[in-house]
């Protein structure tokens, strides 16, 4: 059943690509409600398959690596949707530490804390110290800049960054860019990058070879998912125009506490689960507030994202795993795709 669906998705995506994705500006939006999907960008041809098969046969070559994205830890949150967010963060870290292929680093896409309190940041730091990957890259969420315009965030997690905390780095041939779209938000608007950051981004990407795989990461999605709830970034189009010429672009976001994916030309967008609490699907609740699920189901809706880069295919594969999932199997609630 699940395999059938994955095969169908494979065929669909292959079909889109044959159809000349770029020129037609084809836009395909998909959301997977569950788990267990490898996302591979191979030379601009998107291919997806259940991750029990396929992944791993090329692993281990020089230059191959993986990293893990975690998001929305909301340390300090203690409401019914999850009274112990420190414990679920710890479960996420345990899951990372138990991976058979060790990630080179971790990216945290923001909302480290609930209220930007020093004690919350302290608790997060303490938990992350136990991660097998020692290098951790951060971008802030709106919850991390609540009381002091992000000064404390910058002091702790943004040393050496520009502006409100943006920066870039290279790792084994892949160029990573951390962007901040939660600062200086305007009444009535969504996320915002702002002129200064956009200018910096244009300069940062200029002169890089179009064959360099690019990974953009930021807290609020850099694509418009649901404007009524502010799930998008007002000036993301401008940012995305700078990456159009690159052959492989992966955009990783958090904020919405659920997995959503979209492919647009050679750009694949992906949002991660939270380690703290789930939020409702767009428009399926009166607001985007924390969603309470039965306690025994909580770990199915929290999770981590494992991203693999395979040199031979010049590709990035994205695998989401809920905290409650003990193995890398495509079973469970791999509910297939739903258009969005």
């Amino acid at each position: 059943m699940a395999d059938k669906k994955q095969d169908l998705i494979d065929q669909q995506l292959q079909g889109f690509n044959d159809d000349g994705v770029d020129r037609r500006g084809f836009l395909k939006c998909m959301a997977w409600a569950g788990t267990g999907l490898v996302w591979t960008m191979s030379g601009g041809i998107p291919v997806s398959r259940a991750f029990a098969k396929g992944y791993g046969k090329d692993a281990g070559k020089a230059g191959d690596f993986s990293f893990v994205q975690i998001s929305d830890s909301h340390i300090g949150f203690n409401k019914p949707a999850n009274p112990d967010v420190t414990a679920t963060l710890q479960t996420a870290i345990n899951k990372i530490n138990a991976m058979s292929h060790k990630p080179d680093f971790i990216i945290h896409t923001g909302d480290l804390s609930q209220l930007s309190k020093p004690s919350e940041f302290d608790t997060l730091d303490q938990a992350l110290k136990g991660a097998s990957a020692k290098q951790i890259y951060f971008v802030p969420g709106e919850h991390d800049m609540l009381s002091d315009n992000g000064e404390q965030y910058l002091e702790r997690y943004g040393k050496g960054t520009k502006g409100t905390g943006w920066y870039s780095f290279d790792h084994k041939g892949v160029h990573f860019v951390g962007l901040v779209n939660v600062a200086n938000l305007k009444a009535g608007g969504m996320g915002s990058l702002g002129h200064e950051q956009l200018e910096w981004l244009e300069g940062d990407l200029k002169g890089r070879s179009a064959s360099t795989p690019i990974v953009l990461f930021a807290h609020i999605p850099l694509w418009t998912i649901y404007p009524d709830w502010g799930w998008g970034t007002d000036d993301s189009e401008q940012a995305l125009s700078y990456v159009k010429r690159f052959g492989s672009v992966t955009v990783l976001n958090g904020h919405i506490h659920q997995i959503m994916q979209k492919v647009e030309g050679k750009v694949s967008f992906h949002t991660a689960m939270s380690t703290a609490f789930p939020q409702p699907a767009p428009g399926k609740a009166p607001s985007a507030g924390p969603m309470k699920v039965p306690a025994d189901q909580l770990q199915q809706v929290l999770g981590i994202t494992d991203v693999n880069y395979v040199v031979s295919g010049r590709s990035l594969a994205v695998v989401d795993s809920p905290l409650g999932d003990s193995g890398s199997s495509a079973s469970g609630n791999g509910d297939g795709s739903s258009g969005s």
Binding site: Q114, K186, S287
Partner: protein, 118 residues
Amino acid sequence: MTRKNVWVAGLAMPVMIALLLLAGSPSVTAADQPAAANTEVKIDNFSFGPQTVTVPVGATVTWTNRDDIPHTVVSTDGVFKSKVRDTDETFSFTFTKAGTYPYFCSVHPKMTGKVVVQ
């Protein structure tokens, strides 16, 4: 100017007002106002309700956050700005000049509201 920007938490407000009344402080307008002039705005489900409130000059508006998520109350024109308000925390502001005061939540800027002072 008698503009007052008071931080109150829960039950502290009536006590504070009573103390100020007893003290007969000239800077406080509460004594001159009917109780109805003081208006409540609830923050619920990522929205301000009512979204527009109309009050007389000198009225105090109090916002209460009833969400599980922190919010702020920030004047678009820089007239007032709350600290972050977690669940059940409040913010009050006394409006001493007629006018229209648009505001929003700086954490979730889709949340907007308006105070009209007549």
